[in-house]
Amino acid sequence: MNWDTIADVVAAICLLLGSAFTLAAGIGVLRFRDLLSRIHAGAKPQVVGVILALIGLGLRLRSASVIATLILVGLFQLITAPVSASFVARAAYRTGTFDPDELGVDELTEDLARARNPDDEG
């Protein structure tokens, strides 16, 4: 039992977990009933899955230059996933793809109403 074996085992666990999160994202995007839940499935479990797979790959290859690139890839994921998710959500609100009455919290409608009538406080 040396460090190489331990790193390989941890890498295998990370890869399996990452694939499981991907499977969860696939199930979620198919089964959830409205667009905002589907964006949730596409943004959160998917990014966790990608980052776990990258950790597994880094532990398996064990080389400084590869790990530097993988950290960059993970950072790009963390930066771009919220950008695309919020763009799609804003476009969905704008085009009326989902029903605002179904939302538990809807601060955007209140903010837009306040922006139209600044005198109307409350």
Binding site: A12, T22, G42, S84, F87
Partner: protein, 128 residues
């Protein structure tokens, strides 16, 4: 490691198939682009898995490129998203597409015929 790779590849494949089913079902273009975003992330995981199982290093730049450009598609579609009528929310059947093309072709033929007639009339007016 090979067994782990096979199990992971199976899970990724099932996830990709479920996502593609959502791409086909829609119902709006935003649903489709969310699912396609997931497909591009699944591609990243698949490349990483292949590199981990076969100890490849030359595919790492692909990961960086995919992670950089993967979000552009969904941002673009979200930017140009418009209100879609209900009947536009599904993929047309081949028969419907054929019928539409037939109607379009007839229209073009009628327009070409009308133009030819107008031209003949003009020529007649000039000729005598």
């Amino acid at each position: 490691m090979r067994t782990v790779g096979l199990i992971s590849a199976g899970m990724i494949a099932i996830g990709a198939i479920l996502t593609i089913i959502r791409v086909e079902k829609g119902p709006s273009s935003l649903d489709r682009i969310v699912a396609l975003d997931i497909i591009s992330n699944i591609l990243i995981i698949a490349v990483a898995l292949d590199a981990a199982v076969n100890l490849r290093r030359e595919t790492i730049p692909i990961l960086a490129a995919l992670a950089l450009v993967g979000f552009i598609s969904s941002v673009t579609v979200a930017r140009y998203a418009a209100v879609e009528p209900r009947e536009a929310r599904r993929i047309k059947t081949p028969e419907e597409v054929a019928a539409e093309e037939e109607a379009l072709r007839r229209e073009e033929e009628a327009a070409a015929l009308a133009e030819a007639e107008a031209k003949a009339q003009r020529d007649e007016e000039i000729a005598p």
